[in-house]
């Protein structure tokens, strides 16, 4: 193969693609080379010189992190000469290092410490006044910097520049006086700043939330999924003594989040440790919520719900597991006897949910996150991705900035991604249907009139960009289909765009952008009015919005699992008023939310950090979450609560393990066929293209 080269490292032969770096080839052979500045996802800079190796034919040692392999190259790593160089490199790095490991957060998981232990010198021969800086300096409310510990590997600066494209931090001064800094008066506000803490190979960048909270050796790690948005970034939950969650770290998944997390997800560990976590069920007696036993609380709840019967309703949550949401709709339908089930109380336009359901059922949405970078053009519709699904913002930046792909970005406001777009299409809010029809007409070559506020030449340019691509990713916000007026027409136009492109032999993948960590899963498992698991049509039911609207008339009892409508951004007052009209309000949550304050029964449930189960993300990848800490007080997992309520009602909800619920789902929902915990594996299983 002309695109492969064979080289020898420490006597072992290996064949790798052309352009591979020596260090990566060595890694494949299991040969360890210490690094500080090098990172697989960042451009090599060759700054720390730690990775020096000997390559035959070169008079001087070479940095393995920036040297590419060549045919017949002979590399020596494990030789006394190379080890000697590594040792002197570490000696250099330690000249100015404060060696305050006992009070450093990184101590115990510090590459500088680890490499010194493995390869470093026993002592230092330099008598020298170390550099001094004020420390630590807050770069923002979340990130602190200890400049004395910094070894100037520039990973942080490179990440912000290369990956996030938010160069908030930089190298000030020159030469021996170099240090990392922020610009005057401008804190480190990038929404990806936390990644630099993880990238920092020493304890120079620190999390203000984690600082002094735990030592690495008393931490247990649990693989899980970030519950904050539809991307489903892979994380580890780090906890102390199975009780306190101390931080979330990114877990590498090259198909979802690569090595990164956004700050919203990363720094959101505090609600789990909330001192006001509910530890016992509450029942309203004499107008007051008072502690009760589980049996008492569930009995009261059941009574109220069953009394309402078909006038009862259940609202689950896009942030709860597939298993919980599945059981919840089953319980509502079979035990309570109502068709009013939903996972959201968003207002949706008539018929849009049905249209969306059939599109999903027909596998119209088959987009893969990792293919964003493969396609040559990205059409992004109706979402401020940088805010809604932050990690996808990084994927798009990578596609546009690093790989030179084209972005067509359509959004009413000039959101962050607008500056990467060619063209940026700012349609009038409320004219989504007109706008998408115009775009579809342009792509299909049908004549049209500009009505939605976008200039004709911009639409034409967008259409040209899409038509001249070989592979197009279309990303559309679910809200653009469900909440927009005539959202059904938006969907039709999208189908038209996809068909027109396909007829021109352009490959197309379409991704539905959903906001919740398990929005897709909630729909899949039948927590939808009018649809059973797997989008099988059922008797009509009310949507969450309608249930609240009809509270006190058509609806007299509501069971809300993991949602807080009383704090809804736009409808707080209306929702609060509605909640007060109910004869029975059951709220299942981990703290006493604003909504729970109006409840007749409050059921303390687990957070995701105490829960086993699965989430299905925006690309329809099913991923596992695992319990990291013990349950708090008498709280219970959502699934257990429903199972108990069902059995109290005499129903046959016989599950001894969470996995049995998943098995039932996989037997009911066609796309989930064959899905088991094992089959999902550590990196999730992509289901998007399954019929």
């Amino acid at each position: 193969m002309p695109d492969e080269v064979t080289l020898t490292i420490d006597g072992k032969q290996i064949t790798v693609p052309k352009g591979t770096l020596v260090i990566e080839a060595a890694k494949k052979l299991g040969i360890d080379i210490p690094v500080f500045c090098y990172h697989t996802k960042l451009e090599p800079v060759g700054a720390c010189r730690q990775c020096l190796v000997k390559i035959e034919g070169f008079p001087k040692p070479q940095v393995s992190c920036s040297t590419q392999v060549a045919e017949g190259m002979v590399v020596h790593v494990n030789t006394p000469e190379v080890k000697q160089m590594w040792e002197s490199m570490l000696e250099f790095l330690l000249i100015n290092h404060p060696l305050d490991c006992p009070v450093c957060d990184r101590g115990g998981e510090c590459p500088l410490q680890d490499n010194t232990f493995k390869y470093g010198p026993p002592d230092s021969r330099f008598e020298h006044e170390k550099r001094h800086f004020e420390k630590p300096v807050p770069l923002s409310s979340l990130v602190l910097l200890d400049r004395e510990r910094c070894i100037l590997c520039f990973r942080c600066v490179r990440f912000q520049r290369e990956i996030a494209d938010q160069p908030d931090i930089y190298v000030a001064n020159r030469g021996y006086g170099d240090y990392i800094d922020i610009f005057p008066g401008k804190p480190f506000e990038s929404n990806f700043s936390g990644n630099t803490i993880e990238l920092c190979p020493v304890g120079a960048l620190l999390s203000s939330l984690f600082r002094f909270r735990a030592r690495p050796w008393e931490i247990t790690k649990t693989e899980s999924i970030c519950p904050n948005c539809g991307v489903g970034c892979n994380i580890t939950i780090d906890d102390r003594r199975r009780r306190y969650v101390v931080r979330f770290l990114a877990r590498i998944n090259d198909e979802v989040n690569e090595h990164w997390l956004c700050d919203r997800g990363r720094f959101n560990s505090h609600t789990i440790n909330d001192p006001d976590r509910l530890v016992k069920p509450l029942v309203r007696k004499n107008g007051e919520l008072q502690e009760a036993t589980w049996e008492e609380a569930l009995t009261v709840a059941l009574e109220g719900m069953r009394a309402a019967g078909s006038h009862a309703g259940g609202i689950g949550s896009p942030a709860r597991t597939n298993e919980a949401n599945y059981l919840f709709q089953k319980f509502m339908r079979q035990v309570i006897g109502t068709n009013n089930v939903d996972y959201t109380f968003e207002k949706r336009t008539d018929g849009s949910t049905g249209a969306l359901a059939s599109a999903i059922a027909s596998v119209f949405f088959n987009g893969r996150i990792s293919d964003i970078a493969e396609s040559d053009a990205i059409l992004c519709l109706g979402s401020d991705i940088s805010y809604d699904l932050p990690l996808l913002d990084l994927w798009i930046k990578k596609a546009v900035r690093k790989l030179g792909k084209n972005l067509v970005f359509a959004y009413p406001l000039k959101a962050e991604l607008a500056k990467y777009a060619r063209p940026f299409l700012s349609y009038h809010y409320g004219q989504e249907a007109e706008f998408t029809r115009e775009l579809a007409s342009a792509v299909s070559g049908t004549s049209w009139q500009p009505l939605a506020g976008v200039r004709m030449e911009d639409i034409d340019l967008a259409s040209e960009v899409l038509k001249s691509a070989n592979y197009v990713t279309v990303m559309v916000a679910k809200s653009m289909i469900e909440s927009a007026e005539n959202g059904r027409d938006v969907l039709k136009s999208l189908q038209w765009i996809a068909d027109s492109l396909k007829s021109r032999n352009v490959r197309v993948q379409v991704m539905l952008l959903v906001q919740g960590a398990n929005t897709f899963g909630a729909m899949d498992v039948g927590l939808l009015p009018g649809y059973l698991p797997g989008y099988k049509p059922a008797d009509k039911g009310l949507t969450g919005w309608e249930m609240l609207e009809k509270a006190g008339s058509d609806i007299s009892a509501l069971w809300i699992m993991g949602q807080n409508p009383a704090r809804d951004l736009f409808h707080t007052e209306a929702f609060t008023a509605a909640l007060q009209k109910l004869d029975m309000l059951v709220v299942q949550d981990h703290i006493l939310t604003e909504t729970a304050r109006y409840a007749h029964v409050v059921l303390p449930s687990s957070t995701f950090a105490e829960t086993e189960g699965t989430f299905t993300n925006t690309e329809r990848r099913i991923q596992r979450i695992n319990p990291a800490i013990r349950r708090v007080g008498n709280s219970k997992a959502d699934t257990d609560i429903i199972i108990e309520a069902a059995s109290l009602a005499g129903a046959d909800f016989n599950y001894s393990k969470v996995e049995e619920i998943l098995t039932e789902i996989s037997n009911t929902v066609p796309q989930y066929q064959g899905v088991t915990f094992d089959a999902i594996g550590p990196f999730g299983r992509y289901l998007g293209d399954l019929k």
Binding site: A47, M85, L152, V171, R174
Partner: protein, 629 residues
Amino acid sequence: MTPVTKLSSPQELAEVKQKTLSALETGCTRVLVCGGTGCMANGAPAVMEALQKALDERNVPVRVDLVDDSKEGTVRLGYSGCPGFCQVGPIVRILPSDYFYIKVTPEDAAEIVEKTVQKGEVVDRLLFTDNDGKTYAKRNELPFYRDQVNVVLADSGIIEPGDIRDYIAKDGYKAIAEALFGMTSEAVIAEVTQSGLRGRGGGGFPTGVKWGFTQRVQSPKKYVVCNADEGDPGAFMDESIMEGNPHALLEGMVIAGYAIGADEGYIYVRAEYPLAITRLRTAIAQAEAANLLGDNILGSPFSFHIHIKEGAGAFVCGEETALISSIEGKRGMPRPKPPFPANSGLWGKPTVVNNVETFANVPKIILNGAEWFRSFGVEKSTGTKVFALTGAVVNTGLIEVPMGTTLGDVVFKIGGGIRTGKGFKAVQIGGPSGGCLTTEHIDLPLDYDSLKAAGAMVGSGGLVVMDEDTCMVEVARYFMQFTQKESCGKCVLCREGTKQMLALLEKIVGGEGTLEDIELLEELAVAVRDGSLCGLGKTAPNPVLSTLKYFRDEYLAHVVDKKCPAGECKAFKGYRIIEEKCKGCSLCARKCPVGAISGEPKQPYTIDQETCIKCGVCFDVCRFGAVEK
């Protein structure tokens, strides 16, 4: 004023040359005042003014325009570039007689006009006089110039850089015409390759080969970049070329552009060279007006534009990848190579980076051919090299010699030997990146490979001659201080290593050094040399390593005997009164500024070492040689 307007063919260029030549040859006397930075600072403008006045007073018709042949026997007064012998400036040259006047003052103007301009006589007292009292009237007779061979500097110093026609008259821009109308780009590259021209910026990479790489990379956009950062302290050859013959640089860049298929070039010049920048701007404007630069040069399909980028003057910005990132408006920091600029340079596009002197050689190669060029120099280092000769020699300045000229010839023939009458000790060649050569290298040919083998390098071409009073440890410390300050800080070895080496050297010259320090210094030097990212770090230890190699004794003397053999390092200076010689005259005691000397008259005096500040007054004033160092 644009001396030449739009030329649309090589013929029109040839006509300009003819016209200029005949105008200048019709009995015109040229009085050229050196307009180099050195002479300008030394009073050249006043001399120029005085000459103008003297001519006016005597009603000698002065040519306002260079090519104004309306009046015969007129005089042209103008600034030339630097002829190199800055030590004796301000210099005034008279053509065609080629009288070479040195240290000219405004008071000399009248005499120059009366005698030389009007009567053709020479003013003896303004001529160069050697140690034996012999005077030399013409430039080429001077010992300083006799053994030089001028290729790159041939025209600078004779032409007026401010007028493009003066350059055209010397066959300027003819190489462009020949290349654009008679050669393929491959042929241009082949000619340059065959000439053996190697990069004059220090690395010595074959220029033609570099161009070939860049030419073969497919890309609709490529760049030519001229490295005029010249950050080496004491080097000024590039500055001198840009001031004295800016068009040669422009012409070289256009040819490079044609060869590799680029249509745009940048000159990265340090902002501390304001005169060079002004001259370049004038030259670019004139070349553009003459259609020798810009769109469709000389009516050909080839277009090439040149921009000037002023650099803030960091030494590391002379490293090509740092230079490129500085032009891009980023922090000037080197990055690992590959990719080389030939593949991914300015704004990611294939780019050729060459030094000023390298470019300035190119037109001559195209005009006279590779064989002609190879006739200068030695097999693997062809052509000539410009050096900045400074230090303890009699004659200092800019010199140009064939590659392979021996060190002895440079120091003794051109340099005229050691000025101080002391013995020759060493030269430091290549500036802070170079190394030292000693008496054992007197016959060493100065070329890329011989120098490298000796642990030094051609580098930028700085050549500092040192006599016996120079401490080599101090030399190493001086250069280390420079590189330490200039390290960009990107890579650990250079950032921390230069700092540590400097600390050790300071310790040694400060009298606190130990044998372990020397060992550690050497170990560090090797590590930094072998492991640094860019040339700055890789070469920073050279002064240390080569002084350690040739003058280890001196290091040992500092740490073991606690002595500085050259007597330069202050820490070791101590003054003592030799009892037997002291007459007790008390002169030293009275002169000592801190009252460290005491004694009874007529009895030997003593110096209190605690109080002594080592100023050396006692040594200087003692009439009996009773004070020793």
